[in-house]
Structure formats: structure tokens, C-alpha cells
């Protein structure tokens, strides 16, 4: 089972997630502040950290920054693109909303632990939106999505699971994962105006 650390400033929410995930993953620790989280992650070396975006003292973004080489799955009540994009750009491997059910959450944890990216339909929508519109001819490869990547994201935004995306496009699930990983990389590295603006509104970049 995957060894998971929960980071959220609401103890009640941590307790809820812990009980939901019982038997699906092994929760090896909980932290309620940025400082606690950094210390715990350093000592416990979890496979995946479930991370709340909104916390005092810099929030989830600060934890991601201070713990490189850790696998983060962001968990938030926020639907605001600034929040979602900010945590992804800081280095989280995926983003899901807090209303996600236990099975999907466990699946997402497994996925990021294996090195894949986890995109909720909403995140896929944000990304498509951000990469829309005119791109200058000299724009780097990082600043635009390939047609295939767009197709993959569009299907994820429509609520398709990775294997359904693969089936629909007639490609393998591994290829879908590769496309999503590539989108994640672009998302983190691109200078596209919308994305840097969203990140900047959160005091990043």
C-alpha cells in the first residue's frame, strides 16, 4: 500500500479523509501547518503527500517549494484557476477537489505515486482555456499544446477516465499518460500570459 501523509489545517477534514482512505492507502502521518508538514515529510519520506492548497503561512505552495523531490497531490475546496494553477506550477503532480469520492481519490494517489499526472475535468478545462487563442509563430513548443494533447485534455474535461480516453482515441493508456505528463510539464514551464498571470495573482513567479 502507498504510504501517504495528509497535510491540511483542518483536523476534522484530515480525520474524514483518513477514515475514507482506510484500507486503500496507509496514512503514516498528518500535519496541520507548513512547518509541521515540512518536518514530517523529511522524516517520514511518504510516497505521496495529500496537500491542502489553502493554509496559513504560505499555504500548500510553500510546502511544495520546501520539499522538492516529493510527490504531491493537491486537494482543495477552491475552484479558482489561480489556486489550481499556482499549486501545479509550484510542482504538484495533480489536483483534485475535496468533494472527490474515496475511490477516485485512492486511484489518484496511486496514479501520482506511479509518476503520472492527475487532471480533474476542471483542471483540464482551465488548461485548455489558458492555452487557447492565438499563439505567436515564434512561440516555443512549451507555449502551445499539440492537437493530440488537446484531444486528450478535451476528453478528460468531458469526464473520461484515462482508459476511456485511450479507447476513444485508439491509443494505449500509456500514451495517454505520456500526453498528460507532457501537458503537466508545459503547464509548469510555459510563459503563457494567462498562466503566469494566474500564478502571479497568488504571489508566485
Amino acid at each position: 500500500m502507498r504510504r501517504v501523509v495528509l497535510v491540511d489545517d483542518h483536523a476534522l477534514f484530515r480525520a474524514g479523509v483518513r477514515s475514507e482512505l482506510e484500507g486503500r492507502v496507509e496514512v503514516i502521518g498528518e500535519a496541520g501547518t507548513v512547518g509541521e508538514a515540512v518536518a514530517l515529510i523529511a522524516s517520514a519520506q511518504p510516497d505521496v503527500v495529500l496537500l491542502d492548497v489553502h493554509m496559513p503561512d504560505g499555504g500548500g505552495v510553500e510546502v511544495v517549494r520546501r520539499c522538492p523531490d516529493t510527490c504531491f497531490l493537491a486537494l482543495s475546496v477552491s475552484d479558482a484557476p489561480e489556486d489550481v494553477i499556482a499549486i501545479i506550477r509550484a510542482g504538484a503532480r495533480g489536483y483534485v477537489t475535496k468533494t472527490i469520492d474515496a475511490e477516485r481519490l485512492a486511484d489518484a494517489i496511486e496514479r501520482v505515486a506511479e509518476g503520472d499526472a492527475v487532471f480533474s475535468p476542471r483542471l483540464a478545462g482551465f488548461v485548455l482555456d489558458a492555452f487557447r487563442g492565438e499563439t505567436r509563430a515564434e512561440a516555443s513548443e512549451l507555449d502551445q499544446l499539440t492537437p493530440r494533447e488537446q484531444e486528450v485534455l478535451r476528453l478528460i474535461a468531458r469526464g473520461y477516465l484515462y482508459k476511456e480516453v485511450a479507447h476513444n482515441l485508439g491509443i494505449s493508456a500509456k500514451t495517454v499518460e505520456a500526453h498528460v505528463a507532457s501537458v503537466l510539464r508545459k503547464l509548469q514551464l510555459t510563459n503563457r500570459h494567462e498562466l503566469s498571470r494566474w500564478a502571479m495573482e497568488q504571489g508566485l513567479d
Partner: protein, 374 residues
């Protein structure tokens, strides 16, 4: 006000009267920055040697910095001056009379009298307690003398202007700190007031919405489905409010879909997630598209038995597409009788009348997806 001044004093260096060489500017800056006063002094000296800019900076800093001494409120000072105008006039007359008595000409008597009167007023108004006050008051007296000597002739416009500048300098010295403090206090006050208003607004909203819902949830604790629905509805409502979400109110395809989703969530107790890329204003065609999508969501909510419905829309000026997907029961599309109005009329027919298409894909046991395009 005293609290505000304390805050302002934290940000802006305070004139240091104890360690001053000149006016205490360097010492004040050094204390504020926590560095050696000599460093600051050397910096000012270097800047002064470099074209004299140091002097100008020193003067500006002196005017901007708050003195540890008392701040003079012009209104109070004027009132005090008003109370002491008789003394001022008295002093002016006595000195002028003396000047006349010793045989001085009028053009000298007038300035001497004005200076004496101003000096008396300055002294009576208690401005001489600080070095700053004394300098300012001296400038006022000099200014009064200069104005009085320029007045009778009205010839020396230049000397008159110079006198005015001197008086202005005196006023700035006397009242500058008070004025700055007042401006800072006003800003702080306005900020505080805005904050209080926002707080009241938040409190009112939470009271009407979240607290009501929490009360309802406590009373319906025995019905998990309803509790979940109440919580979900409240969440959506609060989120819209927090984000000042104009989306739901907008006359666009996105807005229409969000409104439909909210309504159906409330009626059927399912979760409807709307993701929209791009957007387009509502016209006859897009309104029909939204209505058809709404019908598809209702069908999914009623018949699929899924907990969650994904709605994805993509719109630009040329194209608009909506996908409604559930992971519910699904059905055999070919087996649906041709006369079943729901899908035929309100979805397929409606789209075709507006030059669009509707396509339904469904597999029993795996769910349904309705694709609508314009």
C-alpha cells in the same frame, strides 16, 4: 488617533532630538534602519558633494519625518492665535509707536510693527517648545516683516514673492508634521472603515446562508441524502459569493449551463460539474443549445442513477459544443421507441431546428454521453 500615530511612527523615521547634530534627520534614519548614524551622515555628505542633492534630500526628509515633539494642529494654533490677536496687535502698536517716537520713517515702522505683532502671536500660541517650532516661528516673523516692507510700495514683486515663500516655509515647518499625520490618520481611518464594512457584509451573508444551512443540517441529520444536498447547495452558493462569481448571472452559454446545473442539482440531488472552455453570448441558437443540454442533464439525473454528471462545453464564435456525460445505467439507443418525446423532441429536434446536431452514445451499464453541437 494616537494609535494611528504610533503605527505611522513605525514606518517613517522619527526625528531623533537626542542624538542630533543638525536637525536629527540622520540619527532618526539610522535608528529606523538599525545602522550606525555615521554611515547615514557620510551618505548625506557624499550626496551633498555630488551636486548638492544631499541638501535637498535632507530638507525633504526633515519635512516628511515626524518629530518626537508635539504636533501642532493648525486649527488649534489659529484659535490660540485668534485669542492672542489683541496681544499681537498691542505689541505691534507699541513697537510701532516706539519706532515713530524715535523718528524712524514709515517704511521701517510698518515692517517692525508687523514683525513684533507676529512674534507676539507666535510666542503666545505656544509654538516655541520645539526647535522645529522655533525655526518655523522665526520664518513666520521674517515673512511678516518682508511682506510688510514690500506692501507699501507694491513695486518689488520679487521681494514680495520671496516673502510669501518664507511664510510658506514657516507654515510647512510648523504644520507639516501635523498635516502628514492627519493624512496618514485619514488613510488608516478609511482603511479601517472599509474593513469594518466588509466584515459586516461577510457576517450578514454568513448569517443568512451558512448558519441557516448548518441549522437545517442539524435538524435533518437523519437523512444523509438531504444533508449532502444541503451542503452541496450551500457550498455552491458560498463559492459563487466568495469568487464574486458573475458567471452564473451572465447571459452567456456558460452562465446558462451553470444556472441549469444548479437548479437540477437542487431538484434531483445529484452533483453536476460544469467545465467551460471559451464562451459565447446567448442568442437564439446558443439558448437552444443550453436548453437541449439542460434536458440532457435532467434525463441523466432522472434515469441514469449516477451520483455525478459531467458537463463540458467549448464555445467560440464559430462553434459551440456541449457534452453531457454520466456513468449511470445507460441504455440501448436503438431500442428507444421513436415516439419517446424526451430525447427526440427536446434534444435532437431542437438542435436540428437550429442548424445543429445531437448525438447520443450509451452503453447499458457504462453510462451515457450526449453530444450537442452547433
Amino acid at each position: 488617533m494616537s494609535g494611528t500615530m504610533a503605527i505611522a511612527a513605525h514606518r517613517i523615521p522619527v526625528i531623533d532630538d537626542d542624538r542630533r547634530k543638525l536637525a536629527g534627520v540622520c540619527a532618526g534614519i539610522a535608528r529606523r534602519l538599525g545602522i550606525d548614524v555615521r554611515v547615514v551622515r557620510i551618505a548625506f555628505i557624499v550626496l551633498t558633494l555630488a551636486g548638492g542633492i544631499g541638501v535637498a534630500l535632507y530638507g525633504l526628509a526633515y519635512l516628511a519625518m515626524t518629530s518626537t515633539g508635539a504636533l501642532h494642529d493648525p486649527a488649534e494654533v489659529l484659535r490660540d492665535a485668534g485669542l492672542s490677536w489683541r496681544e499681537g496687535l498691542g505689541a505691534a502698536l507699541v513697537v510701532a509707536a516706539l519706532a515713530v517716537a524715535v523718528g524712524l520713517p514709515w517704511r521701517v515702522v510698518l515692517p517692525i510693527g508687523a514683525g513684533a505683532g507676529t512674534a507676539m502671536v507666535m510666542w503666545r500660541s505656544g509654538l516655541l517648545g520645539t526647535r522645529r517650532g522655533r525655526v518655523g516661528a522665526s520664518l513666520m516673523v521674517v515673512g511678516a516683516v518682508l511682506i510688510a516692507s514690500a506692501l507699501p510700495t507694491l513695486s518689488g514683486l520679487q521681494s514680495f514673492a520671496f516673502a510669501v515663500v518664507v511664510v510658506l516655509g514657516g507654515s510647512v515647518l510648523l504644520f507639516g508634521p501635523w498635516w502628514l499625520g492627519m493624512a496618514r490618520a485619514l488613510t488608516a481611518e478609511r482603511t479601517a472603515r472599509i474593513r469594518a464594512q466588509e466584515r459586516a457584509e461577510v457576517a450578514a451573508h454568513l448569517h443568512d446562508s451558512v448558519l441557516q444551512t448548518l441549522a437545517l443540517i442539524q435538524r435533518r441529520a437523519s437523512d444523509p441524502a438531504e444533508v449532502a444536498q444541503l451542503a452541496r447547495r450551500q457550498e455552491r452558493d458560498l463559492r459563487a459569493w466568495l469568487n464574486a462569481d458573475a458567471t452564473a448571472a451572465a447571459a452567456t452559454l456558460h452562465g446558462a449551463l451553470v444556472r441549469a446545473a444548479t437548479e437540477i442539482e437542487e431538484q434531483h440531488g445529484v452533483e453536476v460539474e460544469v467545465v467551460c472552455v471559451g464562451d459565447r453570448a446567448l442568442d437564439d441558437d446558443t439558448a437552444a443549445l443550453a436548453a437541449a443540454a439542460r434536458e440532457a442533464i435532467v434525463n441523466a439525473a432522472k434515469f441514469a442513477g449516477a451520483e455525478r454528471i459531467d458537463v463540458y462545453a467549448e464555445a467560440s464564435d464559430e462553434r459551440a459544443e456541449v457534452f453531457v456525460r454520466d456513468r449511470g445505467a445507460g441504455f440501448d439507443v436503438d431500442a428507444v421507441p421513436a415516439d419517446r418525446r424526451g430525447v427526440r423532441e427536446s434534444i435532437v429536434g431542437r438542435m436540428e431546428r437550429h442548424g445543429g446536431h445531437a448525438h447520443v452514445r450509451s452503453t447499458p451499464g457504462e453510462g451515457t454521453e450526449v453530444e450537442l453541437s452547433l
